[in-house]
C-alpha cells in the first residue's frame, strides 16, 4: 500500500465514521458524545505527544529524532484539527458532564471550577499555549544535521513546564470531571503519559512503514529504532507506575468518595477490559521490548507499537465510557475511526510533503531544515 492509498483510505474512513456518528447522534446524543470525547482524548495524544518529544529532544539530544522527524512535524500540524472537532461538545455540555446540569450541580462543592464559561475559557487557554509551543517548535527547532539538540534550551524547558500543567488540567477538565465528586492528584500524569505513548507509537509506526525514509547521518537505521524502542519501554514503565500507584492508594484506603470510580471499572465486563489493558499496554510490550532483537526488527517493533496503540484506545474507553449508562456502544469504534481517519489524512498529507522535501535535500551534507518549508507549504 502506498502512502497515497493510505491517505485516501484514511480520509474515506474519517468522513464515513464522522457522518455515521453525526447521523446516529440524532437518536442517541449522549452515547455519541461519550464516544466522541474518548476518541478525542486518545487522538489528541498525537500532536501533544509529538510536542513533548520535540521539546524533550531539544533538551537532551539523541540521534533517534532523525528517524521520526517527518512524523513529528506532521503530528504537530494536526493540532488545529483538534480545536474543530471539540466544538460540538461545547453546545452539548450537559449531555456529557453532570456539573453542567443545573439541578445536579447544585450539590457540588467545586462549581467554582466546573462551570461552563470557565471550562470553555480554559479550553481556549490550553490551545493558545499548545499552538504557540507547536509554532515555536516548527519554526525554530532545527531537529537537523547530526541530531544534536536544537539549542532552544530555555524555550523548551518553559514549554515542557507549560505542557505538563495544561495537559494535567485538560485531563481534569475533560475526563476526571465526568465524575465531579471524584478526584486524584495522579490523574494528569496518567492521562498525560498515556497520550505521550500514543504520540510516540504513531511516529514510530509511520517511520517504520515509510520505506523511503530519508536517513541522513551515519549508522544503520535499526540502531535508531533500537533507541526509540527503549524510549517506548521507559514511557510504558512510567505509565504503568502512575496507573498502579493511583490504584493501590485508592484500593487500600477504600474511601467512599474515591473507590466508586474503580468499582465501576473493576467489576462486570469492564473488569476484563482492564485485564486486557494491563496485558496489552504493559505486560506484553514490556516483555517484548526488554529483548533487544525486538527493538531492532521493524516488524516486531511495529507489532508492539500497534498493540500499544489499540490497547491505549481501549484504555481511554475504560476511563471515559463507564461513566455513562450506555457504556460501550457502536459509537466508540466508529468515532475513533472517524476522528482518527481525519487526523491521519491530515497527518499523511503533511508527512508526504516532508518526505519529498527531505529526499530532495538528502545530498546536502548537514543542516537539513525542512520543517520551515513544510510549515509554510
Amino acid at each position: 500500500m502506498t502512502l497515497l492509498q493510505l491517505r485516501r483510505g484514511a480520509l474515506g474512513a474519517g468522513l464515513a465514521g464522522t457522518v455515521a456518528c453525526a447521523i446516529g447522534a440524532i437518536w442517541a446524543p449522549q452515547e455519541f458524545f461519550a464516544a466522541w470525547l474518548a476518541a478525542y482524548v486518545f487522538w489528541l495524544g498525537v500532536p501533544l505527544g509529538a510536542l513533548a518529544l520535540v521539546e524533550v529532544h531539544d533538551l537532551t539530544g539523541g540521534r533517534w529524532a532523525l528517524t521520526v522527524r517527518p512524523g513529528l512535524t506532521a503530528s504537530l500540524l494536526t493540532l488545529p484539527l483538534f480545536i474543530l472537532v471539540f466544538i460540538p461538545i461545547f453546545f452539548f455540555l450537559p449531555e456529557l458532564y453532570s456539573w453542567a446540569r443545573p439541578d445536579e450541580a447544585a450539590y457540588l462543592p467545586n462549581t467554582f471550577y466546573l462551570d461552563a464559561p470557565f471550562f470553555i475559557g480554559r479550553f481556549a487557554g490550553y490551545f493558545v499555549i499548545w499552538l504557540i509551543l507547536a509554532a515555536i517548535a516548527l519554526l525554530r527547532s532545527p531537529l537537523d544535521g547530526d541530531g544534536a539538540s536544537g539549542g532552544l534550551g530555555a524555550v523548551s524547558g518553559i514549554g515542557l513546564v507549560l505542557l505538563a500543567f495544561t495537559a494535567t488540567f485538560a485531563a481534569f477538565d475533560w475526563v476526571m470531571s465526568l465524575e465531579p465528586h471524584w478526584f486524584s492528584t495522579m490523574f494528569g500524569l496518567i492521562v498525560g503519559s498515556g497520550q505521550f505513548t500514543t504520540g510516540l507509537c504513531v511516529v514510530i509506526l509511520v517511520a517504520l512503514m515509510a520505506k523511503r525514509m530519508p536517513a541522513p547521518g551515519e549508522g544503520p537505521p535499526s540502531d535508531r529504532f533500537h533507541d526509540l524502542g527503549s524510549i517506548l519501554l521507559a514511557v510504558l514503565l512510567l505509565w504503568a507506575y502512575f496507573e498502579f500507584m493511583q490504584f493501590l492508594i485508592i484500593w487500600e484506603e477504600d474511601l467512599r468518595d474515591e473507590i466508586g470510580w474503580y468499582v465501576k471499572r473493576l467489576y462486570g465486563p469492564w473488569g476484563s477490559v482492564m485485564l486486557t489493558i494491563v496485558l496489552g499496554h504493559f505486560v506484553v510490550p514490556f516483555l517484548a521490548l526488554i529483548w533487544s532483537p525486538v527493538k531492532r526488527s521493524r516488524g516486531a517493533l511495529g507489532a508492539v507499537c500497534a498493540l500499544v496503540l489499540v490497547t491505549g484506545l481501549i484504555d481511554v474507553w475504560w476511563m471515559v465510557l463507564p461513566e455513562f449508562p450506555g457504556g460501550f456502544t457502536w459509537f466508540a469504534p466508529v468515532a475513533a475511526m472517524g476522528m482518527g481517519g481525519l487526523a491521519l489524512a491530515l497527518f499523511l498529507w503533511r508527512f508526504e510533503r516532508g518526505l519529498a522535501k527531505a529526499e530532495r535535500r538528502i545530498p546536502a551534507p548537514r543542516g537539513v531544515r525542512f520543517e520551515r518549508g513544510v510549515s509554510h507549504g
Binding site: 467545586n110 471550577y113 492528584t185 492508594i249 484506603e253
Partner: protein, 453 residues
Amino acid sequence: MTLLADIREAPPVEPGQNLATVSNRVSDIALRMPTPRWWWAGFGASFLLFIILCIAAGNLFVSGIGIWGVNIPVAWGFALANYVWWIGVASGGTIISALFFITRSEWRTAVNRVAETMTLFAAAAAGLMPIFHLGRQGLFYWLFPYPNVMGIWPQFRSPLLWDFFALLCYIIASILFWYIGLLPDWAALRDRAPTRWQQVFYGTLACGWTGAARHWKRFRVVYGIMCAFMAPMVMSVHSIVGLDFAGGLTPGWHSTQFPPYFVFGAVYSGFATVLFLVLPIRRLYRLEAFITEYHINALAKMMLATGLMLTYSYALEAFMPYYSGNPYDVKQIRNDFFDLYALQYWGKILFNVVIPQLLWFPRLRLNEPLLFLVSVGIIFGMWLERYVIVVSSLYQDFMPSAWYFFAGSLWDWLTLAGSIGLFLTGIFIFLRLVPIIAMFEMRELVHREEGAG
C-alpha cells in the same frame, strides 16, 4: 546524550589528561598526599556531631521517646521527617549513579563515586531513624515476619511493612553496588600503594582483582545488571516511603500523587547534595581537570528540572483540596498557608521553588559560590518539606479535642544534628581513603575523548 546545548564546547575532561594522569592524580589523594589541615578540621567537627548522635541515642534508649517533642496526635515527629529526608538524599545518589549509567550520560562518570558514597551514608542515617522511633528499639526484629510462639504476624497489607523490606534490601544493595563499582579501583590502589599497611588494606578489599580480561568481562555484566536493578529499585523504595503517607487517612497525606511526588523530591535533594559535596571537593583536591564546568552545568540543569517536577506536585497539592471540596483537606492546606507552620511551608516554597529559578541563567549556574548556596538552600528546603508534611498534617486532626502544637525538643534537634554528623563523618573518611573519582571509568572516558580528538 547531549544534555548541554549552550556549553557543548566545555569538555567532560580538561585537555592534557591521559590515562596515567587520571590514575596518578586520583590515587595519590588516597595514597601519598599528606592529610590536609581542612580535612582534620572538617572531620573533627563532623565527629563531634557524631558523638552527639551517640549521646542522643543513648539517652533515648535509656529514657524513652518521652524526651522528644512527639505526642498524640503528632506521633511522627522529627524521626520520620529525618528518615524521609535522608532516604531521599540516598535515593538521589542511586538515581544519578544507576539511571544515568543506563542512559549513557557522560557527565555521570566523574561524580558517580561521590553520589554512591553519599547514598551509603545517607541510607545509614535514614535507617537509624525508624529504629529510634520504635520506642522499644530492642524489639525491632518484631518488624520481620518470622514464625513465633505467639502466632503474631505483621500486617502484610501495610506499606510500613513493605518499607521495612524495601529499606533493608536497599541498604544491602547500595553497599554491594558501591563495593562492586570500586573493585578495579581498590586493585589500582593496591598496586600503587607505597607502604605495607596500604598494600594489605587495599589488597584485602580488592579481593584478588588482577585486571584479567575475564575479570573485566564479568565485571561489566555484573555492573550493568546492578544498574538495571538499582534504578527501578530506588524508584520503588521511595515510592513506598510515599505510600507510608498516602496510605493514611490523614488529610494532607492521602493523595494519589505521593509516590512520584516523593521520588521527585528525593532526586532533587540528591542532586543538591551531590553539588554540595562536589563543589568544594573539586577545589580542595584540585580536581578541576576531571570534574569540569561541564559536570557542574549538567548537575545544575538536572537539579532545576527535578525542582520543576516537584513544583508541579506542590501546585497540585494546593489545588486539589479546593477542587475536591473536602472540608478537612481544605482546612489542611489553609493551615499550611496561614497557620502555625506557615513559616516552614513558605520556607520550603522559597528554597525549593523560588530561589532555584536562578538556575535558568547559564551565568548564574556556573557561579560556584551561588550554586553552592542554592544547593544548601534546597537541602534545607527539602527538610522543611518533610517536616511540614509530617507535622502540619497531624497537629490538627479530625477531632478538635485532640489538637496539639508540636515543636521539636532539644533532643530532637540533637538527633538531627547528630545524623548530619554521622553522614559527614562517613564522607570525610571516604575522602581520605577511597578514590573519589571512579578511575577506571575516567580512564575509559579519557580514552574515548582522545580517540575523538
